[in-house]
Symmetry: C2
Subunit: 300 residues, 2 copies
């Protein structure tokens, strides 16, 4: 029994497939498979049930999963306490955020994390919340920061920050004091992210509350393009409050009147249940420090 075998087993057991686990370990699938086979031989017990299409954890595998994680955690603890690098993370970290985060605080997060943990390699994925959740569940990502809480039992959520969105449109479309619902009623299209995105739920709630059902939708999976379309008077849409201020100062967009504000939109840090690595705690705290959707890093 070796630490490598336990590590291979842990990732194979918690990821959706051996292929995913192998990728996380920078290992070939065959080597991972052999490591697990060796561990099974060493323990004298099959850890996976290979009868089906994909290998699933056996009862014996379930029994030792927690223990193997405990050993790996202790080993990491020993490593960090030996080097004296107080809580210095090292290795490899895969995270996912929405595009809005990518355009605002994600660069700060990576910069800060690299500063505090120079040995930590970070791999960031930008995608819509639903897909990130899927990838987190499959074990491809260590954590994600997305809108709302996850409904999956395998994913834990920690609220991090709230973002305020505002309805806006180009000055050419909306006079000062123009109402959002009036514009939508006039058939001006709604420019927004696709259905899987968290902000789309926010918009739907608002529309529902205002009994607006027949809004025409233009969807785009890129916030920069959406803001661009708004400035070019393609339609109306929502924009983070901080962005709205800047765009209004430049005269590119105008804030719309609404009967009620959009609800503050809660973003949460999400990670896999059972993942007790210090990495998760540290990154959650770090995200809590830097997460701020209101200030875009780059503004055309």
């Amino acid at each position: 029994m070796t630490l490598k075998q336990l590590e291979a087993f842990y990732w194979a057991a918690t990821c959706a497939s051996f292929a995913t686990a192998a990728q996380r370990l920078n290992l070939s699938i065959s080597s991972l498979s052999k490591r697990i086979a060796e561990l099974e031989a060493s323990l004298g017990v099959p850890l996976f049930d290979r009868s089906g299409h994909k290998a699933t954890l056996s009862a014996a595998g379930h029994n030792i999963l927690d223990k193997s994680l405990g050993i790996l955690d202790l080993a990491a603890d020993l490593r960090s306490s030996a080097t004296g690098d107080k809580s210095l993370l090292a290795g490899h970290c895969a995270l996912g955020v929405g595009e809005l985060a990518a355009m605002s605080w994600l660069p700060r997060l990576v910069a800060t994390a690299r500063l505090r943990h120079p040995r930590l390699l970070m791999e960031t994925s930008i995608d819509v919340g639903a897909r990130l959740e899927e990838r987190l569940d499959q074990g491809e990502l260590d954590f994600i920061v997305v809108a709302g809480r996850s409904s999956r039992a395998t994913i834990l959520s920690q609220p991090i920050v709230e973002a305020q969105f505002l309805w806006m449109a180009a000055p050419s479309l909306a006079n000062e004091g123009s109402s959002c619902s009036a514009l939508l009623d006039r058939g001006i299209p709604l420019v927004a992210l696709p259905a899987q995105a968290g902000t789309t739920r926010l918009i739907d709630d608002w529309l529902m509350a205002h009994h607006i059902t027949r809004a025409e939708r233009l969807t785009c999976n890129n916030w920069g393009a959406i803001v661009g379309m708004l400035t070019l008077a393609v339609g109306v849409g929502i924009v983070p409050a901080g962005w709205a201020d800047r765009l209004e100062q430049k005269g590119q967009l105008r804030r719309l009147e609404t009967e009620s504000l959009l609800s503050p939109f809660a973003y949460s840090f999400q990670w896999r249940r059972g993942d007790t690595r210090p990495l998760v705690d540290e990154m959650c705290a770090l995200v809590g420090e830097v997460a701020d959707f209101s200030q875009p890093v780059i503004f055309a």
Copy 2:
């Protein structure tokens, strides 16, 4: 970092020398040395201070000693819980007992242990208490069962059983009702174990209490020989109560009258502080079950 390296480090750190540790691990000294060097390279910190004649734990080494033991314990726990062999010990176990135990309950202990833990190899050492304590402290033994408690800070003691000793002499030396002190006063020598033995302290206490100072002593480090000498009327001596009955029935020895009985003699299970392996708990319980000095396995 590997489990083998941690194991090598743990034993090297807790044994008196690398040589002892290597022996416990069934490993050559050079391999052990290299494993430790590799661990140090992996952690980037010297774990031992090699400036002196013998390698001593460095501060960094002290820091990770507990953690490495924790990892090894968890690994052993995982191993046993995976195989389903509920609390089945395996591997190698070195123990030490006095000769009296060797002649009475030690065979029972080994037999019982082998029955419950077929994969456990046992290596028994018979010696006097002081030397066993020394060897336990040096890491050559896992546990010992000796008279009294240890005074060393590095050794923990758990009282196990009390043994009653009786003064006896050959019928040719002592008439029925003869007094022990009278015989000693008449210059009949005392036949006993050497000074390092626990029972010698018991005798000294008794002599002190009875103000007997000028007893002539014949020492021998073998109980069989001592009993033999007693039966051949070489002198007087003490014998475990159970033995006394048998010897008296056969007419080989006669119980002596005394003003006061020898104090009941407490034997204790002793192990190294910090050794939290299940092996220790299990063997302590096992010894508690079988330890009984009163019935010798073989009687001539």
